[in-house]
Each structure stands twice: as structure tokens, then as C-alpha cells.
């Protein structure tokens, strides 16, 4: 195929398109269209003979031959070309969002390693199984109703083709405003929601929800009844998480604070510091309060004892896996790589990387200065804290902002762990409340502080024109919107989680017996030891150590 002839024909087609964009008379327009049609028909790709010789240089593959024509007999038309471009854009976005979702799904493995490593060997099977089954319990709850509540009214996501079947948000009219509370389309992914775009959105949102549910298992580890865990997880995946997800991401009332109350762009949470991490962290706090501290954690005078985990290598490996998965979490939240400013994915990925690293650096520095050693588990938690905090602002801030947010979160998580352990006397074996709760709320506020007004996701966000801009860049209204989001998380989501888990405590009981706890949950709760070839010995402080293989 003579390449110059093909180039000439494409040039004609482009010229024709440009000509079409300028005002012209009807007869000129008809002539122009005819010219374009003729030009398109003149385009030909590589011949079958050429293709059968193979394409080692990659110059013959992906040509006009590969454009799908509505009527091959009629030849290539302008409509074929436009449809192919549209489908290519959506295809790129589908693949991007799905691959990002697969990365986020793999974060479950990271959480499982971190939490199990930070627990004692006698509870390894139980902790690992909670992290394993949270995937199934959460997924089922989200498929039944969670997704519909969260995204049932979120039509208009153009990156994924529009999401037109998800077009019904239940709203309350109060004070002259509409307050979107929950979606009503997409239960069981049936009916009109049996749609390719909806399926992509479901997968991506499902793995986010699962991240929130798995946070709780860490805070309640080593004393949580498996049945109580299962019920609690189902509720979180079906109701609590989707509700806040709707308010923030599904077109609900928090996202409309900008439209309705002129507060910046409304509550902005790019990838879920609030929706995912603070919801998970606050639920973890509620459950940790209800189940109470582990035996041996506190002395009679209330002073805490350290109960070290059994495998720090698992913990740090898990942190690395989580950091890897976060590249799906944050950049994937553009829901596409093509159109609507989605090319910002590069900036979002770099922000994610920077905040995670500076988070671990901040925590390491704090622990080294305060306790004289560079603590491994807190360095890992610092990495996660930085990642959690950058999750909401990742799409709106520059790299300097990301570094400040990550570093501050790394220090904050150390202070928070000490505060919960020593002042509030809440036993959280893995620091989930501090990593995800405290730093999640901090991340939400950071949007209102550090958003630099340079992002452009299709020219508007949450229905408000322009870029999201924080207090330090001139918009105090955005900070107030974020603060209202934080108040809602603390005032409503925590309460909802607490009340439901208190009901579970009343009817089922949340905590295993003291005997089971002392023996370790593996045999009594799961029927098998995590490390059957090791003999587990309990010391007076309730600590288990491996003494032989």
C-alpha cells in the first residue's frame, strides 16, 4: 500500500472536517459532505498480500482496515469514523478503569498481610480469614443493594459512556433545596442496569467498598466473633458505606453543597479519603469501642502494654502491596484516561507516590526522635497514612501539596495512635482507626486547603464550573464544604455504625469468651491453626511466641 496515498486521503478527510466546522451555505455543505464521503472511500489499508507477510515493524496493523463499517458494501463513512472514535475513547476508559479496579482488588492481599502480621500467631488464621471473606461478604451485599443505593442516581459519567440507566436519585425537599439521599436503580444489577458501562462502574466501586470493610477487621482483630464480623460487614457494605458514597459520589446532597449553597464545588473527595477510609476508620472505631481491648492490653491502672505482632516481614510486604494497589485507587478514580481532563492521571500517580513516601518518612522521623529507633511497623503505617491522606486531594493538588499532605499524615498517625491507645484507651491492634479514620478526615480537609485550582475535569466538578480551589489558593467556601463532610462522617456515619454494631452486640455478641481469646481464635473460631506445625506458648502478658517448628 503506498503510504503517501493513504496520507493524502486522510489529509483530505481532515480538511473536509475543518471545512464543515465553518458556516457555509446549504449547497456548499452538500458539496463538502460529498467530498468527505469520496475521500473516505478513497482511503485503503494494507492489502491482504502485505498482511500475510507479517508486520514485524508494527506499521501495517491498526489501519483503516480495522475500522468497523456499518455497511461494508457502502464503504467507510463519516459516521463510521465518528463512531469508531467514540468507541475507542470509551474502550480506553473501560480498560483503564477495569485495570485500576483489579489493582484495588489486590489491595485485599496487602491488608490481609498487614493485619495478620500485626496480630499474634495464635490468631493468624482468624485474622487472615476475616480479610479473605470480607471480599465475598462485601461483594454480595453491594451487589444486592449497596451499589444501587450509592450509584443508582449517578447518570452522567461521560467517561464511561454516560451511565444513563442509573437515573433515579431519591431526594428530600427541605429549605427550598433538593437533598439527594440515595439512589434507587441498580439493585441486583438487573433490569436496565444490565449495561456494559454500569458493570465497569460496579466493579470499580465494589473494590472501593471492600477496602472500607476490610479496615474494620484490623481494629477488632484477635477478639471479634466471626459471625459478628460477617453481619457487621454485610451492613457496612449494604447500607453505611453506600449512603455516604451516594452523598459524596452518587449525586447526593454533600456533592451539591456548591450548587445549592455556593460552597466551592461542594464536598470533593477525589478517590475516597472520606468515602472509603474515614467511613472504614470510623466504623473501626465504633466496633473497637464495643468489643473492648484485648486481655493483657491494659493494666489495672489503665497503662497500656505493647502486644507486638508476629511477623513484621508480612506487615511491610503488605504495605508495599497496598502502595502498589493505590496506583489503581487514585489515578483510576478519573474513571478514564481519555477526555474530560483525564490525562491528569500522571499527576495523580506522582502525587500518590510522593505522599506515600513522605508519609513513611514522617512517621519514621517522629518515632526515631521520640523513641530512639526507626520503628518498622509505624513506618509502614506512615506510608499508609500518607496514601490515605492524599486519596481525596490527589486529583486536585500539585506535588508540593502532596509532599506536605503525606509528611503531615505520617506524623499525625503516630500522634493519633498514641492518643487512642493512651488517652482514650481504645485497643486497635493495627492502628486502623488512626491510619484510615484520622488521616482520612485529614485528607478530606486537605482538599479544602491545598487544591490549587489547576485541575480541569471537563470544565466543572459537581456541577460547578471551574476548578476545585482550596483555602490557600483563595476559596474558603471549599474548606467549609470539606468541613461539613467531616462533620457528617463523625456525626452520622459513626453513629450509624455504632448503633448497628451495638444491636449486633445485644443479639449476637461481638466478642469471643475470655477462654477463647487466651487460647487464640484460630481453633475455637475457625477450626484450624494458622501455623499448625508451630507450638504456640502464651506468656503471662498474653503474648504468644513461636518456639519451634
Amino acid at each position: 500500500m503506498p503510504t503517501h496515498r493513504k496520507s493524502l486521503a486522510i489529509a483530505f478527510a481532515v480538511l473536509g472536517l475543518v471545512a464543515l466546522a465553518t458556516p457555509m451555505r446549504a449547497e456548499d455543505e452538500a458539496a463538502g459532505t460529498a467530498t468527505i464521503a469520496a475521500s473516505l472511500k478513497a482511503i485503503s489499508g494494507p492489502s491482504t498480500d502485505d498482511l500475510t507477510k507479517g508486520d514485524p515493524g508494527g506499521t501495517l496493523t491498526g489501519t483503516v482496515n480495522d475500522i468497523v463499517m456499518a455497511d461494508p458494501k457502502a464503504g467507510l463513512t463519516l459516521a463510521d469514523l465518528a463512531n469508531q472514535i467514540g468507541q475507542n475513547r470509551v474502550a480506553v476508559n473501560f480498560v483503564w478503569t477495569l485495570v485500576a479496579g483489579f489493582l484495588v482488588m489486590f489491595m485485599q492481599a496487602g491488608f490481609a498481610l498487614v493485619e495478620t502480621g500485626l496480630c499474634r500467631a495464635k490468631n493468624a488464621n482468624h485474622t487472615m480469614m476475616m480479610n479473605f471473606m470480607v471480599y465475598g461478604f462485601g461483594l454480595f451485599a453491594y451487589w444486592v443493594m449497596g451499589f444501587a443505593i450509592q450509584q443508582g442516581g449517578s447518570a452522567g459519567i461521560s467517561n464511561l459512556g454516560g451511565m444513563n440507566p442509573l437515573n433515579n436519585e431519591w431526594k428530600l425537599s427541605l429549605f427550598g433545596k433538593d437533598w439527594g439521599l440515595f439512589g434507587t436503580k441498580g439493585f441486583f444489577l438487573s433490569g436496565e442496569s444490565y449495561d456494559v458501562g454500569v458493570m465497569v462502574l460496579f466493579l470499580f466501586q465494589m473494590v472501593f467498598m471492600d477496602t472500607a470493610t476490610t479496615i474494620v477487621t484490623g481494629a477488632a482483630a484477635e477478639r471479634w466473633k466471626f459471625v459478628a464480623f460477617a453481619i457487621s460487614t454485610f451492613f457496612l457494605g449494604a447500607i453505611t458505606y453506600p449512603l455516604f458514597g451516594n452523598w459524596a459520589w452518587g449525586g447526593g446532597w454533600l456533592s451539591q453543597l456548591g450548587v445549592n449553597f455556593k460552597l466551592g464545588h461542594g464536598y470533593c473527595d477525589f478517590a475516597g479519603s472520606g468515602v472509603v477510609h474515614a467511613v472504614g476508620g470510623l466504623t473501626a472505631l465504633a466496633v473497637a469501642m464495643i468489643v473492648g481491648p484485648r486481655i493483657g492490653k491494659y493494666n489495672r491502672d489503665g497503662s497500656p502494654n505493647a502486644i507486638p505482632g508476629h511477623d513484621i516481614t508480612m506487615v511491610l510486604l503488605g504495605c508495599f502491596i497496598l502502595a502498589f494497589g493505590w496506583f489503581g485507587f487514585n489515578p483510576g478514580s478519573t474513571l478514564g484516561a481519555s477526555g474530560n481532563g483525564s490525562l491528569r492521571i500522571g499527576s495523580i500517580a506522582v502525587n500518590t507516590m510522593l505522599a506515600g513516601c513522605t508519609g513513611s518518612f514522617g512517621a519514621l522521623l517522629y518515632m526515631w526522635i521520640r523513641f530512639g529507633k526507626p520503628d518498622a511497623s509505624m513506618s509502614g503505617n506512615g506510608l499508609l497514612a500518607g496514601l490515605v491522606a492524599i486519596t481525596a486531594p490527589s486529583g486536585f493538588v500539585n506535588t508540593v501539596g502532596a509532599v506536605i499532605i503525606g509528611f503531615s499524615a505520617g506524623v499525625l498517625v503516630c500522634l493519633s495512635v498514641e492518643f487512642f491507645e493512651r488517652v482514650l484507651k481504645i485497643d486497635d491492634p493495627v492502628g486502623a482507626t488512626s491510619v484510615h479514620g484520622t488521616c482520612g478526615l485529614w485528607g478530606v480537609l486537605c482538599v479544602g486547603l491545598f487544591a490549587d485550582g489547576r485541575s480541569n475535569y471537563g470544565g466543572s466538578w459537581n456541577g460547578v464550573d471551574g476548578a476545585v480551589t482550596g483555602l490557600f489558593y483563595g476559596d474558603p467556601g471549599q474548606f467549609v464544604a470539606q468541613l461539613i463532610g467531616v462533620c457528617t462522617l463523625v456525626g452520622v456515619i459513626f453513629t450509624l455504625s455504632y448503633v448497628f454494631n451495638a444491636i449486633v452486640e445485644y443479639f449476637v455478641g461481638q466478642r469471643v469468651s475470655a477462654e477463647v481469646e487466651l487460647e487464640g481464635l484460630d481453633l475455637p473460631e475457625m477450626g484450624a491453626l494458622g501455623y499448625p506445625e508451630f507450638q504456640l506458648v502464651t506468656s503471662s502478658g498474653g503474648r504468644s511466641v513461636n518456639v519451634g517448628g
Binding site: G292, P293, V490, G491, Y498
Partner: protein
């Protein structure tokens, strides 16, 4: 006591929402949100204190 604590937590959020719908001034909305958040956090601390009194280490195990 737990009911009072839960009332404080939800009440704090209502203070925030009151500021949102009651005024268009940023300063008023900001002040209401800060006051509301403080009330909710105090409520959580109160709720936690009721759990501490029943905690396993406080019961002589």
C-alpha cells in the same frame, strides 16, 4: 449515658447543618461546623468513657 453521648454526636452534626441552612455568611457556617465537630467529638469521648468503665481490664480480669 450512652444515649446522651449519641445525642451529642448527632447533635453536633445538626449544629453544623443549622449553620449551613441558617446563614449565607462563610464565617457563620465555618463557626457552626467547628462547633458542631467539637460537640460530636466530645460525644464520642463521652461514649468511649462509658465503655471504659466496663472494659475487661477495669473489671479485674
Amino acid at each position: 449515658m450512652k444515649i446522651v453521648a449519641l445525642g451529642m454526636i448527632v447533635g453536633g452534626w445538626m449544629v453544623t447543618m443549622g449553620g449551613l441552612v441558617g446563614s449565607e455568611a462563610i464565617v457563620v457556617r465555618l463557626a457552626a461546623a467547628v462547633a458542631g465537630l467539637g460537640t460530636s467529638l466530645a460525644g464520642i469521648a463521652t461514649l468511649n468513657s462509658t465503655h471504659i468503665t466496663q472494659a475487661i481490664w477495669n473489671r479485674g480480669h
